[in-house]
Symmetry: C2
Subunit: 422 residues, 2 copies
């Protein structure tokens, strides 16, 4: 199959833009094979063309937006961020009938509705999977996967910085300032963390998700927003004693004929699905009238996860523009898995003293033993057993042992062997 | 906007087919608004047209396949299940240039590769989101959302029956037979549960997911398959004592130049993301080179969740056939949320005996108290505090109380109020 060529004009080459250049380079043959499209980035707008950018061809760089916007590319990818000039770039491109892909959360929260309308009028597409929750395909799920559902409620952990700070405060029992400093040191918080820790970033994401989920325009100030600056290690400790975990939660919910939108710290039951989402991860729980509750979780930010989302929009637009092209490769070699792992073994036996010969057989086959127990049946309907937890060993060694033990006549029935995942 | 009409020929009106008819009826205006397409089911193949089917128009029913296949519909939805005549119906439709949507897992596991090739040749689409994990959009995630990723590993709980049985055995400490009987009574297991509990159903799903994830054909017998019949309540108890949960897990993993595929019961650490997936729910954990680990979980089967997946394929095909149509509604009313909920309150105070007047103010505002504590600072840098856990009350009552307490001069700094989620 001949791959179609697709020329991409890229605006911005920071964290996400750099990730996109890397990913297009690394996985281009995979994308050609899966989607029948050959991606090439033909021009890149940057502020400083002399800055060191490993892996980025210097000849592609320009400081003139019109060299990207008007160079005959098929699609414009906007990753400069902020409101202006990003909005003008996108409007300019849509007006010229070009598809646009963007990761610009702030702009979409402010003006997404009118940009989507502009794309619709021009019959081109505006992709923005990367604007919310990085690599998690939640926009696609709301736009396509759950299209037949009335969405009733949407709850999520939408800000990785807040979740990282609260996780550290919970697990390491440190105060907010120490956790924030650690988040900054690890690159999970900006030098100025205000947008994240005061909840505005999560509120922007919630607005974008709510407009898609409820298919309605949401006013810019509609989200009741509260951050996490005021949470102390003590609060978290008190919550723990009551069986709760404190999480920074965004919620959009249908109530009568209106939608209630909130971003705030909440005490969640420790058993809640969102309570176990740790560190910088994001998660979204969607309740639809047909599917019930559905959870999506993963990395919500970062160079490659966000670039992966941008790329999914690019390929999606490329494929649906030119018809049907997904092609399959040939047959693959499959292997009988033979990981090394601990195993849990159980043998029904007449006499539990069989533990001696059974452990001998295991050790002869190279299966080390962590612990072994001879268990007498508690009542007439139960069986005497030998139970063994092995050291890490190959499945084949376990199976050879099972065969030898079966042949030995020590068993009264068939033994079982379960892998232990670490 | 004028909605395009799309005529659907439906083969089969059992659990999923009935759910589809219900969902198309219930959410048709939502689909018209979101996707600009007006769906109508024009003919339905059934075995027994006299059977009672509430909500299904009897005039649409027929026992002659050709009346569905050759009646001028735009798309054929195959929900009869099994290998034949389902395969012939699908091949017939593809050959005539019709898009096909199917939920037929057994057929796709056996012959999906050649059906996809046939669709590709005819430049039509074959949708099968409903074939794996019901309403969870995992097929779409692998085909589109993660298209730019090399998938390294795919692990999941793919069979709801096994997961329900193991959950009951774990939580209620009952034996396999009792848990199976309960699953059958609740409709989570078939009268003949062999395909589920011996792992063949999960193996078929794993094969379909692996072919998509690794973009390669997988041999029919490549999945090492083991069921859960032999697991006892004792095994689960022993695992629990070691810190593990027993789950029926499907795994596909790249190892050197081949793929290892397994379905088997595994001891998972109790903290593993899949360990907390309970009852009849399904989950898939995907590891991609760009996105890292990503979890999708939700209802894996059932009439409406599966119908939701079928519907997402129908709308997807409809939209990409006729161009761009996603239209947005108008502005929505948003409400200031005022749920009734318990709240956790904390007030910094000079003198902890302020607990008396503070609780008085709360009660005067209609905020009942579950418990209240006066807390003396442990050291000079800490503050004296009053902490309160309230009964369920409106946010407005809490905010009125906070205002009154601030006005009272009892506080030494700003108090906080966090919602408790139940």
């Amino acid at each position: 199959m001949v791959a179609r060529k697709l020329k991409i004009g890229l605006l911005g080459c920071g964290t996400v833009g750099g990730g996109l250049v890397e990913l297009v380079g690394k996985n281009s043959s995979l994308i050609r094979q899966r989607a029948g499209v050959e991606l090439s980035i033909t021009k890149i707008l940057v502020r400083d063309p002399l800055k060191d950018r490993p892996g980025v061809e210097r000849a592609l760089l320009t400081t003139h937006p019109e060299k990207v916007l008007d160079n005959g590319c098929d699609m414009v990818v906007e990753l400069v961020g902020g409101i202006e000039p990003a909005r003008t770039f996108i409007q300019h491109s849509l007006a010229r009938g070009k598809h646009v892909v963007t990761a610009n959360k702030a702009l979409l929260a402010l003006d997404g509705f009118s940009l989507m309308k502009a794309a619709e009028l021009q019959k081109v597409r505006l992709g923005f999977e990367a604007s919310v929750c990085g690599g998690i395909p939640i926009i696609r799920a709301l736009r396509n996967g759950l299209v037949g559902n009335q969405i009733q409620r949407l709850t999520g952990i939408l800000n990785g910085t807040c979740n990282y700070i609260l996780t550290r405060m919970t697990e390491d029992r440190v105060e907010f300032d120490a956790a924030l400093a650690e988040a900054q040191a690890k690159g999970f918080a900006e030098a100025d963390p205000t947008l994240d820790i005061d909840g505005h970033d999560a509120a922007q994401k919630l607005k974008i998700l709510a407009e898609l989920a409820f298919h309605s325009r949401v006013a810019a100030d509609a989200v009741q927003t509260e951050g996490i600056r005021h949470i102390t290690a003590d609060d978290i400790q008190v919550a723990r004693e009551l069986g709760y975990v404190i999480k920074h939660i965004a919620t959009a919910e249908v109530a009568d004929d209106s939608i209630a939108l909130e971003v705030h710290p909440v005490l969640l039951p420790a058993t809640d699905q969102l309570a176990s989402v740790r560190d910088e991860n994001n998660a979204v729980l969607v309740r639809g009238d047909a599917v019930g509750e559905m959870l999506f979780s993963g990395k919500g930010a970062g160079s490659l996860p966000s670039a992966s989302a941008v790329l999914s929009d690019i390929v999606d637009i490329a494929c649906h523009k030119g018809g049907f092209s997904a092609s399959f490769g040939g047959a693959v070699r499959t292997a009988v898995p033979d990981h090394s792992a601990r195993h849990y073994l159980r043998f029904p036996v007449s006499d539990p003293s069989a533990i001696g010969p059974i452990t001998n057989i295991l050790e002869r086959n190279g299966v080390g033993i962590v612990r072994a127990a001879a268990v007498w049946a508690k009542n007439a309907s139960a069986q005497n057993q030998v139970r063994v937890l092995t050291q890490a060993c190959c499945r084949s060694a376990v199976e050879n042992s099972l065969r030898d033990i079966a042949a030995s006549g020590l068993e009264k029935g068939k033994g079982i062997a379960l892998r232990v995942a670490e």
